[in-house]
Amino acid sequence: MAPENGFAVRAEGVSRHYTMGSALIRAVEDVTLGARTGEFLALLGSSGSGKSTLLNLMAGLDRPTSGTIFAQGRNLSEMNAVELARYRSRTVGMVFQSFNLLPRMTLEENVELPLRLAEVDRAERAKRVQGALEHVRLEKRLAHRPSELSGGEQQRAALARALVNRPAILFADEPTGNLDTATGEAILLLLQEIQRTLGMTIVMVTHERPLAERFAGRIVTLADGRLVSDGAKS
């Protein structure tokens, strides 16, 4: 356990290497980075810069080759698989570029899924699902399947699913990558609103500097797996 020092999540000297054939890929190399509680942090970089890998490490989807990640004061490296799953379920919410809604389920069922995994009581679930969908203004599309929604609506539904468990940290991996500019901006406005109203920590991966500069409170740039800049918006 390490002191939080105001950080919701913090990576210290984190590296992630993997082999592809005979080649050793250094996806993330010795990165030290923290997101303060309530901060909207953008990880900026070109394709292959290691930003999504770093996001996955901080979200507990992957384990670093070396270094440590602290989230809410706990060292993710010391967690076993069950604890890590609980961390993803109760502390973290995730939004993906390709929405990752389950196509066979309705919006209501998709949003309810994290609550099932977190073993929330049934009576409580309905209220929370309704609240989350109202937050993203999709409360009238409960019974629709993802294929019946536009891209923006799907991403809003994914956002509702990420929020329904009231996570402390929201990780968003290229949330606007599959959307047109206007819809992407609408999504980021929604993220900004959530961060401001709920005081949630948001770590967003993007390769679009203008959007990052417009909506994020802090921008960190990665290149070739290394952190090249960390600071306020230019």
């Binding site: 996955n56 989807l61 992957d62 379920s89 993906f96 066979r104 099932r116 995994l117 699913r161």
Partner: protein
């Protein structure tokens, strides 16, 4: 994840690929049906054989003879045998004592004697056997053409088919006809000490016998007699009722009638030369137990009373062993189809992992532990196994009904009585369903483990 949520998600997933999962479930059902059909056939045949053998009296009867039968005529007494054992007579006292033993249904004497039958002016040689009233309900006369005796004391006869063919070419016309049985009756003679005039014995043969109630008498005379009997039935097969029971009899009459005839039997001469206890004795008695498993205890009790016994107890053990092996082999053959169905489950679930790779990644990203994913696939396998098991038992039962129907149709055409060759007991129903679930869960073990081990990052990248 909670069990109810797991169940709901599993059923939902199965419904999404309904055709493939239905076919896999059908495969399990066919496997279970094969297993149930095979084992039901084995159980049914075992029950049929047990019932027929039990009815035959081979396994639930003890043949009791006096030890004196074995030790007479100058043979030395057995070592360690008491004088009481050697002298114990198989008389009415002994019969009543045996009737009072626990789990004894009935005790009756074996009465068989040679006769001359007169029918339609012709004479025929044959053997008459006395039949106890219990033979009506034990299946020995199930195939009788006509009827069983109207009462234990009725002057009626049932004719064995081979003898009936001797009497008439049209055997069915014999029913309702009369025949005359000629036999020799034992008649007691007064003791030589009581009777000084041997001329009173008339033309009868004088011996010294206790067998016919001529106790302490001067012997018995044998007198030719005739008895008119009404033919009430014809039996196709030779009804058995234990070793030495009705065997070799060709003309069956009620036991009470046979006793009343006091017909001279084969062992009468042997008894005649032996020292008597002064009471009527039997050559042998048949003791029927409530069930074959009681035979051993009854035999031991009768032996301790001083009599010799004989039963086919060991044969019942061998019969059980035979059917245990038979059922095992049928079970193995029946399980082959289930083994193929197991491969179907593995294939279906492995395909599901490939198709749902991304979904597994999403579940993990949302907080599903490896255990949750594993349980989800397990439950899906279990649901397929349960449904397959239930449908399979139903199909197996239908197959059994079909086999029974076909068998009875064949038996009917062969003029044989119907038989239940198929039996689906409750233990088989529950066992087959449980077995199907266990097999399905075993089949789901590999796919479930593989799904649980999926790297969520890799799974999320999968398109």
């Amino acid at each position: 994840m909670k069990a109810r949520d797991l169940g709901e998600l599993a059923v939902r997933n199965l419904r999404e690929a309904i055709l493939r999962n239905s076919l896999t479930t059908l495969g399990v059902a066919v496997g279970v049906a094969s297993l149930v059909a095979m084992l039901s056939l084995g159980v049914g045949l075992q029950e049929l054989a047990s019932k027929r053998l039990a009815n035959s009296g081979l396994f639930d009867t003890v043949l009791v003879t006096s030890r004196r039968n074995l030790r007479d005529f100058g043979r030395p007494p057995a070592k360690n045998s008491t004088a009481a054992e050697q002298l114990r007579a198989l008389d009415d006292d002994a019969r009543h004592e045996m009737e009072r033993l626990p789990n004894v249904v009935e005790v009756y004497p074996q009465i068989r004697f040679p006769t001359e039958v007169r029918y339609a002016g012709n004479l025929y040689q044959t053997v008459v056997a006395g039949i106890p009233p219990s033979a009506r309900g034990n299946g020995a006369f199930d195939g009788v053409q006509g009827a069983f005796f109207s009462s234990p004391g009725a002057d009626e006869a049932i004719v064995q088919i081979e003898f009936a063919k001797e009497l008439s070419e049209q055997t069915s016309t014999l029913i309702g006809k009369e025949l005359v049985v000629r036999y020799v009756e034992r008649q007691p003679l007064p003791s030589p000490t009581a009777s000084a005039d041997p001329g009173k014995t008339g033309n009868a043969t004088q011996t010294s016998t206790p067998n016919s109630g001529d106790a302490q008498a001067g012997g018995f005379s044998i007198v030719p007699r005739e008895k008119i009997l009404h033919i009430v039935g014809i039996i196709e097969t030779e009804p058995a009722a234990g070793f030495g029971g009705f065997g070799n009899g060709r003309l069956f009459i009620p036991l009470d009638v046979a006793s009343a005839l006091r017909a001279a039997q084969v062992n009468d001469l042997r008894e005649a030369v032996r020292t008597s206890t002064g009471k009527p004795t039997y050559a042998s008695l048949t003791v029927r137990a409530t069930k074959p498993s009681q035979v051993g205890a009854i035999e031991a009790s009768i032996k301790s009373m001083g009599f010799a016994t004989f039963s086919l107890l060991d044969a019942t053990k061998n019969l059980r062993l035979f059917f245990t092996i038979f059922d095992l082999l049928l079970g193995i053959f029946g399980s082959l189809a289930l083994a193929v169905a197991t491969l179907g489950i593995i294939n279906t679930l492995v395909m599901a992992i490939l198709e749902r790779r991304r979904e597994i990644g999403i579940l993990k990203a949302l907080g599903a532990a490896d255990r949750d994913v594993k349980q989800l696939f397990f439950v899906e396998a279990g649901v397929m196994g349960s449904l397959g098991g239930v449908f399979g038992v139903g199909m197996g039962w239908l197959i059994g009904r079909g086999v029974t129907w076909g068998t009875n149709l064949y038996l009917q055409r062969q003029s044989l009585p119907p038989a239940h060759v198929f039996s689906v007991p409750w233990w088989l129903v529950l066992g087959a369903i449980a077995f199907a679930i266990i097999v399905s869960l075993s089949a789901g073990l590999y796919p479930a483990t593989r799904a649980a081990r999926l790297d969520p990052v890799e799974a999320l990248r999968y398109e």
